[in-house]
Structure formats: structure tokens, C-alpha cells
């Protein structure tokens, strides 16, 4: 087995889903009492049967997270470089068929954005683009990385999937982390939501984390877009993917995000709605399944939810995010990828973190450590 798709293709979505839904209270209790939890335990913890055990799960999740990560929350912020995109994605504000003005930031504009972000106190930046290979390509990324590297101690990217050689080229420019969300592991539904563009190739995307692992990247981020399909089955496949990658690419760290579909101009209604209670159940299930994986919560979630959940398993948060290219300084009024829910400034969030008895951490990497 050389890539995740080989393993993935041996499993059936429907069988997996029904095995999650058939988990019972005694399966959940067994999962809670085991210290080393398996993928079957994870199924029990995300099953409807585990809903009654949420308080206990939250307690264990908090304990495990504190032991591994301490009482700290890492802070990062996205920088949208471009909204140009050749993909049609039914849920995304930057979809090719969406009538918005397209923009890719120039070097001068990037530095204007960077100046504002630096004033907010950030050391960890997440670069985001759509997929427009004629303008936003590896050479563009190299230029951007070279430009911003002196200003940030940690650089992450969430852009189109690239080839192994391209990742290998970008790492020496200071690229530390790559996030690549499968959106959904339901093959047919994936096709429905990504009818056109390079992104419609399910398997190429599915095997991207393998290429990242082979390239020796420091951290790989996984996740699905919650709302497209049954979140329990999708999350199981995310956990399976994590488990597979950890054993194979043991020198990389992993993080998981759980974005819920948010409204945007002309947007898609979620097929499946996940409640706050269910999102917390999922966060705790990930933590109970894997004590070391980083769990990240974005500004898609509400202030109240974020205030409470930061102590129950989360390790990283964004704050003050803009989801439009130029959103910080160049063109604050341009169209966003999605509307954020928590609009508090980074300083306000840092204050809330402290009030919860946690330390906000701005810097936890040094670009100088990679040579």
C-alpha cells in the first residue's frame, strides 16, 4: 500500500456509516474505559449513542489536552492571497461560476497586509488561495514565501494540492505546514460539489497528504467541510487518514480542523446540520482517540462556543481573520470567501484566553530551525 487511496478503496461508505450508527452505550463505555483507543472506539465516540456521555468525554478531553499541550492556546491568522479560481465548488464564495471581482495580491499589497497583521501581534501566518495555476503557481508561492519569511516565525499554507517535487521546492523557502481538506470522503457527493476544475479529481486530492509526508513537511492539516455529507462518517475517514499517515510519515505533526459550512453570498444550504453539542462531541472524540493531534478552531464559530470549547480539547485558534484578499489593508470591503462568526480582535481573544486561565501563544516555531 503506497498511498491512502489504496486503503480507502477497500472500505465502503455505507457500511462504515451503518457501523457507526449501530454503536451502543456499552461500546461507548468500553471506549471511555480504554486508555489506548482504536478506530472502532472512535466510531463509538462519534456515534449518537455517545451523546449521553458528553460531559464525561469533555472531562477526559480536557485532561488529555492539558497533559500534552499545557494550558496554552496557539494563535494564527489567515492571509488570503488570491480569490482567482478555476474550480467550481458549490459551497465556496470563490467558485469559478460566482460573479465576483478576481484579485491576486502583488508584492506591494502583500507587504501592506503583512504590516497590519504584524501589528496585531501574529508570528504564525496561514496563506490561503483558490486554484488558478496560470497565475497562482509554485513560482508565485516561492516569491511570496521569500517575501514574508523574514516577518513570521511560522508559515502555513492552504492552497491547491501540489506535486511531490513542488512541495520539496517550497519547503526550503520556509514552508512549515500544509493544510489540505478533503471536503468530503463521499466520492459521489464530492463529484457533485466539485463538478469542474482540477479539484474534481477526488483521488489526487485524497493522496495529497501522502505527497506531503514524502516531502518531509513538518505539519499536515486534515479535515472535512462539515455540512456536505454525514459528519460522523466523514470524520471517521478523517481519523482513519490520520492514523494511516501517522504510522507512515512519523516525522510529521498533524492537525485537524472541523469547519462547518458558513453562509456566503449566493451560498449553499448544508445538507446535514451539525449542532454545537455535536461539534463538541467530535472535538472530544478526536482528542480521546489521539492525544497528540493538534485541534484547531477558526472564527467560523461563535464567540460563546469558542470561549468554552478552548478549554476542552482545542490547541489552536485564529482571531481577527479576514477571508478576502486585501481584507486587512488593501481592499477591506471586497467579497469574502465566507462570513466569519467571531469578529473579536486578536487582542480581545488573547484577553479571553487569559481570563480562562490559559496562556495565548503567538510564537511556537522558529523558521531558523529548518535548514
Amino acid at each position: 500500500m503506497n498511498k491512502f487511496s489504496d486503503l480507502f478503496h477497500t472500505l465502503s461508505w455505507e457500511e462504515t456509516k451503518s457501523s457507526i450508527y449501530s454503536k451502543t452505550a456499552s461500546d461507548v463505555e468500553l471506549a471511555l474505559s480504554n486508555q489506548n483507543r482504536t478506530l472502532e472506539d472512535f466510531k463509538a465516540l462519534i456515534s449518537p449513542a455517545a451523546a449521553l456521555y458528553l460531559e464525561q468525554m469533555a472531562g477526559l478531553s480536557q485532561q488529555l489536552t492539558t497533559k500534552r499541550f499545557g494550558k496554552v492556546i496557539q494563535l494564527y491568522v489567515p492571509l488570503y492571497l488570491s480569490n482567482e479560481c478555476n474550480n467550481i465548488c458549490t459551497y465556496c464564495g470563490f467558485s469559478y461560476d460566482n460573479q465576483v471581482r478576481r484579485k491576486t495580491l502583488s508584492a506591494v499589497e502583500i507587504m501592506q497586509e503583512v504590516a497590519v497583521i504584524k501589528k496585531m501581534g501574529y508570528e504564525h501566518i496561514l496563506l490561503v488561495t483558490g486554484e488558478a495555476n496560470q497565475t497562482v503557481h509554485v513560482d508565485y508561492f516561492k516569491k511570496v514565501l521569500a517575501l514574508i519569511r523574514p516577518h513570521f516565525s511560522q508559515i502555513s499554507m492552504e492552497v491547491q494540492p501540489l506535486d511531490l517535487e513542488q512541495y520539496q521546492q517550497l519547503i526550503p523557502y520556509g514552508l512549515n505546514t500544509v493544510l489540505v481538506y478533503q471536503e468530503t470522503y463521499h466520492r459521489e457527493d464530492y463529484k457533485k460539489h466539485h463538478p469542474k476544475g482540477k479539484k474534481s479529481n477526488f483521488d489526487y486530492r485524497l493522496d495529497t497528504p501522502d505527497r506531503l509526508g514524502q516531502a518531509g513537511i513538518h505539519k499536515i492539516g486534515l479535515g472535512v467541510l462539515i455540512g456536505l455529507e454525514d459528519w460522523r462518517a466523514d470524520s471517521f475517514f478523517t481519523a482513519l487518514h490520520l492514523n494511516y499517515l501517522e504510522k507512515r510519515y512519523w516525522q510529521s505533526k498533524y492537525s485537524i480542523s472541523f469547519p462547518r459550512l458558513r453562509p456566503f453570498s449566493g451560498g449553499l444550504e448544508p445538507k446535514v446540520v451539525m449542532s454545537d453539542r455535536e461539534l463538541l462531541q467530535l472535538i472530544c472524540a478526536y482528542r480521546l482517540f489521539n492525544g497528540e493531534v493538534e485541534l484547531s478552531l477558526s472564527t467560523r464559530e461563535s464567540p460563546t462556543f469558542r470561549n468554552h470549547v478552548m478549554k476542552l480539547g482545542i490547541t489552536a485558534m485564529s482571531a481577527g481573520s479576514k477571508t478576502n484578499p486585501g481584507g486587512y489593508a488593501v481592499e477591506p470591503e471586497s467579497l469574502e470567501q465566507f462570513e466569519i462568526s467571531d469578529e473579536r480582535s486578536p487582542q480581545e481573544i488573547a484577553k479571553v484566553i487569559k481570563e480562562q486561565g490559559y496562556e495565548p501563544v503567538w510564537k511556537d516555531w522558529d523558521n531558523n530551525l529548518t535548514i
Binding site: 497533559k67 499541550f69 494550558k71 490559559y358 510564537k363 522558529d366 531558523n368 530551525l369 535548514i371
Partner: protein, 255 residues
């Protein structure tokens, strides 16, 4: 008193700076511990902004010596570069060598660690390498010019105590450099036990930072380390499972 390279330590409790809920609490706990050697991850240090949220600002006390560590590097080459960076930025040639290419369990790489120790010792660094409880590796590190060895008691951050005790005893019995038990010490009784075995010092971080009351726990560790050391120096009474009333096998000699 404990001496490493040219430095003499009154306290045999070394500490770390991670996982505290605030930098002021960290400062209070470290002062309560009376620790004189405090390790700090280079990746967490912000060399540009020296405000009161900066770890370095909180460590500016006359008794506290900084021990920068290379946490996050994966190879000897990266570790050597990080050590040079630390020497320049923090003005110390002491370095805690942490090379763990495995970010899940943070297991130290013995091969890269040995290579880096050889090189750094030649470059004039005082090297304190974090390693498995491997007696042969400890001797090889001695040959390479290490200033001390820092074997783990159990997986880092696990609080499981001295699971490697049999190997620690061998290391302590044959070491020519100070032995500092580094990872896994979860309670003051673990620390006391390590000192009773004859360890020269222990390094504790998670067990203090993540405890219910870090300042009180720091004091508890300080007292446990002192008690354990006194016990070691006083020589423990031998273990016995039953009372020795008579000598049935040799009594005939006196008849």
C-alpha cells in the same frame, strides 16, 4: 555540591518553562522551586519583542541560569545551527540537545544526538543531551565530550515516573559525568526516588506546570529532591523482606 562544567549548583532541581497557564505563574513557580537551571525552547523565545509576556523577561533573576533547548529540530545539522543561534542570541554556550524527529512521542534520536554532541563539544559548547536510558550511549557521549547525560525516566510528559529504573541504575553506577533524569517524573516521590538512586539532578516541567497549584508543587519538588539527595548521601538501610532472628544454616558453627 553539583558541578557541571565550571558551574556549581546548590539546587539539584532543574526546571522547564512550557505548559504554564501564564508567564507570571511560571515565574512564581520557578522562583518557588529555587531552581538554578531553567530550560527554554528556542522556538518559543521571541527575540524581537522583549515585553512582560516574553518568557525571557520572566527569567531575569540572578539565580536562574538559562539552558536553551533545541526542541523542534530533527537532525544533528539543525541542532548545531540552533545551538549557534542560541549562543548568539542568549549569550550562553550551554545547550540542552533535544533531537526528536518523532513529534508524537518526542523520542530522542540517539544517532543524531551523538553526532551533534561530538560537533558541539568541539565548538566549545556545554552540551546536555536528552536521551534514552541507554547505558552504552551514555558512555559514547562521554567520549564525545558531553558535560552531562539526561536519560529519560519514562516518555516525556507522561508523568509515569521511573519506568527505566534498571537502566538508570546502570548509567548512574558507571557515569563519569553528572546524570540528570529528564523526562517522565510525575510526582515529588518520583523525584525523591531518582535522587535516592544517586542521580545528580532531575529536570521537571509538566508535573509542575500542569498541576493544580504550580507554586506549591514546585516547593514540593524542591523538598523531595533535597530529601532524596540527603537520603542517598546518608546511605539507605538495606532492603529486607523478613526479620533475621536466627541463623539456621550456620548456627552449628557456634555449637
Amino acid at each position: 555540591m553539583l558541578k557541571i562544567a565550571d558551574k556549581v549548583f546548590k539546587s539539584r532541581l532543574f526546571t522547564g518553562t512550557g505548559k504554564f497557564s501564564s508567564s507570571s505563574l511560571m515565574e512564581d513557580a520557578l522562583l518557588a522551586s529555587e531552581s538554578e537551571l531553567v530550560t527554554v525552547a528556542l522556538k518559543r523565545v521571541d527575540l524581537k519583542n522583549n515585553n512582560d509576556e516574553n518568557i525571557l523577561f520572566r527569567l531575569k533573576h540572578p539565580k536562574i541560569n538559562l539552558l536553551p533547548n533545541t526542541s523542534g529540530v530533527r537532525t544533528a545539522r539543525e541542532a548545531i545551527f540552533a545551538a549557534q543561534l542560541a549562543r548568539e542570541a542568549l549569550e550562553t554556550n550551554w545547550i540542552k540537545l533535544e533531537i526528536h524527529p518523532d513529534p508524537k512521542y518526542l523520542m530522542p534520536d540517539p544517532i543524531e544526538t551523538l553526532k551533534a554532541t561530538e560537533e558541539l563539544a568541539k565548538l566549545g559548547f556545554i552540551v546536555l543531551p536528552y536521551i534514552h536510558a541507554d547505558p552504552v550511549l551514555c558512555k559514547r557521549l562521554e567520549d564525545a565530550g558531553t558535560a552531562a547525560v539526561m536519560p529519560l525516566g519514562s516518555p516525556i510528559g507522561s508523568n509515569k515516573g521511573l519506568r527505566t529504573i534498571d537502566f538508570l541504575e546502570i548509567i548512574i553506577s558507571q557515569s563519569n559525568v553528572p546524570v540528570i533524569i529528564d523526562a517522565g517524573i510525575g510526582s515529588p516521590s518520583d523525584a525523591a526516588k531518582a535522587m535516592e538512586l544517586g542521580a545528580d539532578a532531575v529536570l521537571v516541567n509538566t508535573a509542575i506546570a500542569v498541576s493544580g497549584t504550580p507554586v506549591a508543587m514546585a516547593m514540593a519538588f524542591k523538598m523531595a529532591v533535597e530529601a532524596g539527595r540527603i537520603a542517598f548521601e546518608a546511605r539507605l538501610a538495606p532492603l529486607s523482606t523478613h526479620a533475621r532472628a536466627s541463623s539456621p544454616l550456620t548456627a552449628f558453627l557456634d555449637e
